[in-house]
Symmetry: D2
């Protein structure tokens, strides 16, 4: 029964890990840490966990936290935190999974470009670890994750886009130029920190696009697609916020490659995901909504060739906090520790 | 002070007309009709109107309703109703404005194709009137509307797409092939009739795309764009529903024409709409949300050239019930009767 | 591993049972029935269950459904259905749990009054079974439920009111006259059937009280409180609907009995629920929201004596679909089959 | 055409004034002030006002702001600001209306108690002005408002409770002891400042009671009711927050006085409000929701005697930002300047 330590346990990512691990038959939460409310039980900060997770919050760098034995450390923190903790934990023989962009890239250059988009220091703090990091999207990196001890969990938008585009890009069903990702996210994707634009009355009946000049998640998408295509892919990405709590609906567009029709698309997608238990492929006539994946680890991809205009369309539905974050993390932990991929995650959406 | 009769006064379109005309300094509501609740005051069906509009509901074809004098009849009804009423009213010397697709097309063939998409009888009931109908989008047809006595008010999605694309298509800033309209609508766009997919718990935390095989509004969009381009334009259109009440956010994509950059886009859009008081053009860095146009007749268009990928992007924000429906209708009535275009409509969004 | 058959599997109550039983370590869903969509898999009606519950829907009275072996039948149907099915199942040696009011009362007279409030036939169809029925609120009837084979699951409003008032009424901390139940419910409490008042745009920014002349759930409340008090209790009940999906917030008022203060209230409540794992008692300063119990089987009761005005206040928080319906049902099944009360239910709210 | 200066123009109260005055036929906005964003146009802070109110924001105490001529100053600011500005403006011959509690009480003692509840300095800064202040609830103080030059606009909860209880308390229809105010508010009532409990994901599917130990608005309620009754009235008050944007639904309870029935209640309420154009009285069977008053200045009061239990019930519906704040303020300005009470406010709710 592997022990897990969670750094950043009081954010939405950390809470997601706590909720999932509480019902996981194998993993056990050994200790939790956060930078605020140190000394309080987690359930004093989040009363809904009372009786379920009353572990005290440690400071992430406090000796008592570091001394708690564990098999893996999950770092659900902003960019820049995981990279200063990973080396120590790996040296101590623990596996390490990070929620930020710190270990999503294998090269210092890519990281630097990513960090610049966020206005962060482009110099990675542990560049020697980068070649060892595995990108935590099980559907594309299942085997590597089975051998990994350092995993960079993907961005939520990236999960939805990559899963929605991978079969088409990998099989050359869509032209490489002109791919567009139109992505709508619920607000939980912005984390727990209050801000004017996510204040309830401001968000109540309002939706908007943002960061039109370039969201940082696009880099993961392009890197993965480029690897699949064997040629460079650049995508136009339009992140949007809509007033739902959980859910990402990504509409993915491109030019259909010559001769590709709906039937061909559908069979390619189904084949691509045949061994992926959390991805379901639907044709254009199937009704699907993000509500169908809410609080589940599933990704449902609808493919809909618009043959009249020659447009490729795939629509990807995930819960941004599960398949887009903590659910993928547990899926990755399962693989890293040799458990069945679906262990502790195999349940449908909650409805309504 | 022109008198207006409203057919279909109890739906969202009709209520929008009632609300707007109640505060309009010139038009007067002479009589209201609906197929249900005949004989009751409108305010018995919709108590929020008590003391504001207590006119009795007539049957649309009842002699007492037909006998009420009026200068214009507004038909806010499903497809197929306006076409059987328009001829009679026009013969009686009244102007006629219809909210459905009945008079959005000037040819029987286009109408037939439109009707087929809706599963309706493709045979128009008053084909002799079609050549006389003017498409009710003031920003493109201001002069014709000033002379019109028969107006087909546009579809809400169409308003958002056409206004967002017209300058680019008209000036050749975007390539004609490969235009994509990714359109998110609030639920009021579906009208007042309850349905399983708009039942509150089903819609609460859920968004989805629908009618992927072809929404009927795309035909108006293509017709208008084709006229502007002087060459055929076909667009891929993805209607989506998100859990807001009012608002359409349309992200419009294409390939930037050679040499077109953000600066050129912005100046072309600003010039195009220089004389249009309800359209505001913003650049990519301006924060805009559908909340900024809620309960106003404004359309805000953000243009955002993605020069890295060569992608044209315009994002169009409207209130689907105002600029997308009743607001455009009042704007059209103003033009039809020689009033300033903004009369009775010149107010900002309601916030929050 | 007891087998469960579910009648009414496609409504919110039935879906709640399916979701809970899918993750229950002991119960197994043997068959599902509904009056519509017979022959389709449950997952064809509700695609989010695809791969999780693909059992075909039977007609409730079809021989093939009746022939499926089972240990218990759960009837999640409108009033009047359980009473015509219970006798047959009990005779076949199966236990029976009903979600409607059919078996919430032990006398024909009480049932008749209940049925009249709903505009239903006041004559019970299986009066001989009524004395045998146990009211399915484990916190008050734990021992009887352990011996029961026929259970009437309580109404959602009733659960929240009874749990919030029982200690005060049972211990005489509140005066018997003048008790008020001010109850706010999310819309899922109204079931899956679309209606004008729960159409998304109508409900979006709107809340209201309804059925002011007497909601049917008040009868259960008064019966249970009267039993606890040993003297007749009548309560004024104001059901309200607010635009949330899940949750009941019941504010319960009365006159504090002489000498009763906050400290006494708090200790009485804590003692009363000491052996009830799903009820938590909080004092007035603790922040609690219905979000803290969403998707959990917990009931959190805040007691807040207003000593300045002599007013007793208790505030009860539940998820109407879990502790208010399917969660209580599984809790009852656990007791009926000798399992620990919390089996399969022991998890916190989902957040956010 | 009286000129109005607004201090605190960027909050929800100030924006409400701006929106209402923009469409008011008589008042003109002369200048706007705020403590932040000084120098920017109001429309740079709130882009939805672009083209409608582009006046620059002044610092409230800047000479250029003070020098702008005006007939009345509206102070839409937190407690403590109005009291340091009122004297100067009154001396300059301007009328003054304040949105906070600064001028809701005529005595230093009552103010001190109010301030203590908010954790503020109990010493009023301009006690000599208190006797001159009029409480800005037109339905109870119409004549005084017609002569007033200093008005304390009421609290939003207070408006809903006082209007709902005044006729019953004034006529002795309800017993003086044991009155309960159960009040549900939309989140805009908390103002524009982001906070963890109003962060969208936290508030999404969650409602709660708060400040159970005593909300400051209860003091206004008790003072007004005590005046009406001619004897001291204390009420138990339970403020609650529900996830809507606008609206207060207050359920008001008490013991029916001997012999009082529904008919008597209804006629007393109707008579009481016969001359109040913004208050409508409904009986228990009328469907009413807060949506019926959203974005209007109306208050709808439903009276519903529960004769079975002897319980008085009145349910009060307002828009917290209009009748609960800026709408009442404009109604008061109308009276202060001799205009018809309804001028610029006479419009129905916006629907949906």
């Amino acid at each position: 029964m592997p022990d897990v330590k969670i750094i950043g346990a009081t954010g939405y990512g950390g809470l997601g890990m706590v909720e999932l691990l509480l019902r996981h038959p194998e993993f056990r939460i050994a200790a939790v840490a956060a930078t605020q409310d140190v000394g309080k039980p987690l359930s004093a900060v989040w009363p809904y966990l009372e009786g379920y997770c009353d572990l005290p919050l440690h400071a992430p760098d406090a000796p008592d936290f570091l001394a708690v034995p564990a098999d893996v450390v999950v770092c659900s923190t902003p960019d820049g935190v995981g990279m200063v903790n990973a080396g120590r934990e790996l040296s101590a023989g623990r596996k390490f999974l990070d929620f930020s962009g710190d270990f999503r890239f294998n090269s210092e250059d890519l990281y630097a470009e990513y960090a610049r988009r966020l206005g962060k220091d482009p110099q990675h703090k542990a560049p020697e670890l980068l070649p060892r990091a595995v990108y935590g999207l099980a559907e594309l990196h299942r085997d590597e994750l089975g051998r990994a001890d350092l995993v960079g969990n993907p961005g939520c938008f990236a999960v939805s886009c990559i899963l929605g585009l991978a079969p088409a890009v990998g099989d050359g069903l869509v032209e490489r130029a002109g791919i567009v990702c139109d992505c709508k996210s619920g607000i939980s994707g912005a984390g727990k920190k209050p801000s004017p634009s996510h204040h309830y009355p401001e968000r109540y009946d309002s939706m908007n696009a943002y960061r039109l000049s370039g969201h940082q998640h696009v880099m993961e998408v392009e890197r993965e697609l480029t690897n699949l295509a064997g040629a460079e892919i650049a995508v136009a990405f339009t992140p949007q916020v809509v007033p739902v709590c959980r859910g990402i609906l990504s509409c993915l567009y491109g030019r259909l490659a010559p001769g590709i029709d709906q039937k061909r698309l559908l069979s390619a997608y189904r084949e691509f995901y045949a061994a992926s238990p959390f991805v379901a492929v639907k044709d254009a006539a199937s009704p699907v909504a993000t509500g169908d994946v809410r609080e589940s680890n599933r990704c449902v991809v609808t493919v809909a060739a618009d043959e009249r205009t020659g447009t490729f369309r795939a629509i990807s539905h995930i819960d941004n906090l599960l398949k887009g974050q903590a659910g993928s993390a547990v899926q990755n932990l399962n693989l890293m520790f040799g458990y069945p991929e679906t262990l502790g995650l195999d349940r449908p959406a909650a409805h309504p």
